[in-house]
Symmetry: C2
Subunit: 230 residues, 2 copies
């Protein structure tokens, strides 16, 4: 059972050592970062050599999900094996007194675990629905239902969220002790992922104006960051 | 010598098999994706287990660079070893007829190589200058020069760009053959990284309004995507 009150049970091996004050292990904090993401980077080992690939991802309860072509090279490589999943949201430039006091503001998560396949078709369909509702709420009920052929064409995979470490920097620059009065501008240039007006496919769109869930879309991060300054 | 006319000499092992029509190996195409990025994800192998970490990155000629605390756990782990570097820029949601015709538009790069240290101090300083000019042109001449102490506090690393594969999706949804007339909106919701107004540190900023290179900043991607639709 999910208990959002307890932190992720991260072993010492996977805890954050570098600037540990920025580490987050509480489920609410870490899940909010995963839930604000469209993409993750999945790394794996082949013949003791590292490989990695960017993939779409989404969370449901205490699992992070992703999918690929069924029985393809990638799913064959991943299912049953260890992976490390890295997520980073870029939140802006941090401008300090010297080059070394410059930084980024960001939210990141690193997850270690074993990949399991979600094989049953009802579970696969439920996972795809959760994915769609994560990315664009309202879309699922507006599209043609998935077919059995389509479900069979993909492999849905998941990793249990146990060895999970989040890291957040959301601050002005670090202190400058050498030349605190150097005459340069000190602060942050915040950034977001912004969506432009929807662009209809001229040859295939069969309806007129886009529905409100598309017109009013501000991104999953926009919905999930009510307390972010600016 | 860099020759931007020849493609990256990617071995068969690292060439893209899945949807190969989206693969890019030309230096100009791949370098443009690296140059539009603030972040990469560096994966490596420890005891045959995968690990990964998000890091700031920048390119100079035929190398991709990154840095970390000097002689820290990470730099000790990386220098001299194999890594895989994954970059992805999220360019929007692709909305098709069924869940399976939904996708993202994106630009991605995956790089395999060995990490070498940039050890000489003049080279480290030059690398930090290139980094800063990549992220925020005009900033380097406006800040306090780096000190020898600061240079010694970091390890600058690089990977030669040889095994490099780019992938770009910048299209409307894939064809729908089952129900092409399903009454739903078909198209793309494009996205960009957008910067808000700069936010001065109230206690430490010693100058008035931010300079023009900050006020007019639209992001490295904004400068490098003149041909992107919308």
């Amino acid at each position: 059972m999910e208990n959002s009150e307890t932190p992720y049970p991260v072993r010492k091996k996977y805890r954050i050592k570098r600037i540990a004050k920025r580490a987050h292990y509480d489920k609410a904090d870490v899940n909010a970062i995963i839930d604000a993401s469209y993409l993750c980077h999945i790394s794996f080992t082949q013949n003791n050599q590292p490989s990695a690939i960017p993939m779409a991802c989404w969370r449901d309860g205490l699992y992070i999900y992703f999918h690929s072509a069924n029985k393809g090279r990638l799913s064959n490589q991943l299912v049953g094996n260890s992976v490390c999943i890295s997520i980073a949201l870029f939140d802006g430039l941090v401008l300090g007194h010297s080059a070394f006091n410059h930084s980024y503001n960001y939210r990141s998560v690193v997850i270690h675990g074993q990949v399991e396949e979600v094989a049953d078709e009802p579970d696969k369909e439920a996972a795809m629905r959760t994915f769609m509702e994560h990315i664009l709420p309202g879309r699922w009920s507006d599209i043609r239902p998935v077919s059995q052929k389509e479900l069979r064409a993909i492999t849905v995979m998941r990793v249990k969220l146990e060895q999970v470490a989040g890291k957040i920097r959301d601050e002005f620059p670090d202190d400058e002790t050498d030349t605190p009065n150097w005459p340069t501008w000190i602060g942050v240039i915040p950034s977001i992922t912004k969506f432009h007006a929807a662009d209809a496919d001229p040859s295939r769109n069969k309806v007129g104006a886009p529905p409100s869930y598309i017109v009013e879309y501000t991104g999953i991060d926009g919905r999930l960051r009510p307390n972010k300054k600016k």
